[in-house]
Symmetry: C2
Subunit: 196 residues, 2 copies
DNA sequence: TCACAAAACTAACACTTATTAGTTTTTTTA
DNA sequence: TAAAAAAACTAATAAGTGTTAGTTTTGTGA
């Protein structure tokens, strides 16, 4: 019937991925059918295959796009010439913004990576592991330099990552603390429990 | 072929639910087929229906059994005559133990509740919301009594719940801090950032 | 040992799934 | 405006889904 509207500055493929991300987030990857995605765009399911290779490819795009964003930011922060606490704060704030600005995609990457097929699954998990290790390294360095409290680095890192992930629940209580205030509250709780 | 072995002090239904929980955790609810569950037990898929009503019923059992456990513990803690921080610590420790001792079930309740059909979905979400509210109430009281730092209660509660949930990642680094040490580290991080 | 109940089986059902082939319509390019 | 490319369509396929009916096997209590 109608045509797929390319998203601003993007291809039709991008449009499909965005809609897919929204549905994957709401219903889960496996529970979302190609027909549903197509319906939601206003097109037949088979038409999607003029733009994408497969359903799995959609999930792959979403997961690795998110992974790349986080990796790139970590790279930049590692280069910074600031105290460890400041680096940590930058990263936490980036996580918060990613969570709020790219909710569907980040949520899907966090919850649906299990449905990736090989070799993508292994690749994704390896990247995640490496990301965590680099954060642990950061905290460890901070402790050695006496810039941070002497806390178990791995516990701290996983707590921080999890707490930020918990922002997904905030979608529900939207009116609660406004965005910048929420951001500051969370950073404050996570850091000033650890910062000396 | 063979028969379903009833779990110690349990019914055959319990055995099925346990195996289902393990598979739902590994592959997700929708991606797990009744035939897979049956295979894993060593029986035909149709045989399962001598013991259970439907696939959805399996998910319901898992989710509400977990919800009940948490609600019951909260009830008990609320009755305690101890400082707020102590109550909070009890709850955190209970969450940690539930996470480690009933990993599959807690994980499934946390990740697969979306797949519950109505009216179970609404019921489950309502219980979750109420649980959170009661925790917020607890923290708020603690702040009013000057037993806790003056932090945004909702941010604190969600951070705590999320951080504890993050223990699911710990399954991977099993050798890291041993259980009691891990527990103490986490409690320490979560509370001594908030305790006065 | 006989009868009854519990629990397994086989076979089939009605649907839904992702994906493909082939064709037609629409848009872009020359 | 004609030719080429892009993007939609219809129709079909093969595989997998949860679940049911009917039957056979297994275990139990009289």
């Amino acid at each position: 019937m109608s045509k797929i509207k390319p998203v601003r500055n993007g291809t039709r493929k991008d449009t499909i991925i965005r809609k897919a991300a929204a549905l994957f987030r709401k219903k889960g990857f496996v529970a979302t059918s190609m027909r549903e995605i197509a319906d939601n765009i206003g097109v037949e399911a088979s038409s999607l295959y003029n733009h994408i290779g497969s359903k799995s490819e959609l999930l792959q795009s979403i997961c690795f796009q998110v992974a790349n964003a986080f990796n790139q930011q970590l790279e930049e922060v590692e280069q910074m010439e600031t105290p460890t606490a400041k680096k940590l704060e930058s990263l936490i704030r980036f996580h918060i913004r990613m969570m709020l600005d790219n909710f569907d995609e980040v949520y899907v990457a966090n919850h649906e990576w299990k449905q990736l097929g090989e070799p993508f699954l292994s690749n994704f998990l390896a990247q995640r592991k490496q990301y965590e290790s680099r954060l642990v390294e950061l905290v460890t360095t901070g402790i050695r330099k006496k810039e941070l409290k002497n806390i178990h680095p791995h516990v701290a890192v996983l707590s921080i990552l999890s707490a930020v992930r918990g922002l997904e629940f905030w979608q529900r209580h939207k009116k609660e603390p406004e965005r910048p205030e929420l951001e500051n509250n969370l950073v404050n709780y996570l850091l000033h429990g650890i910062t000396r």
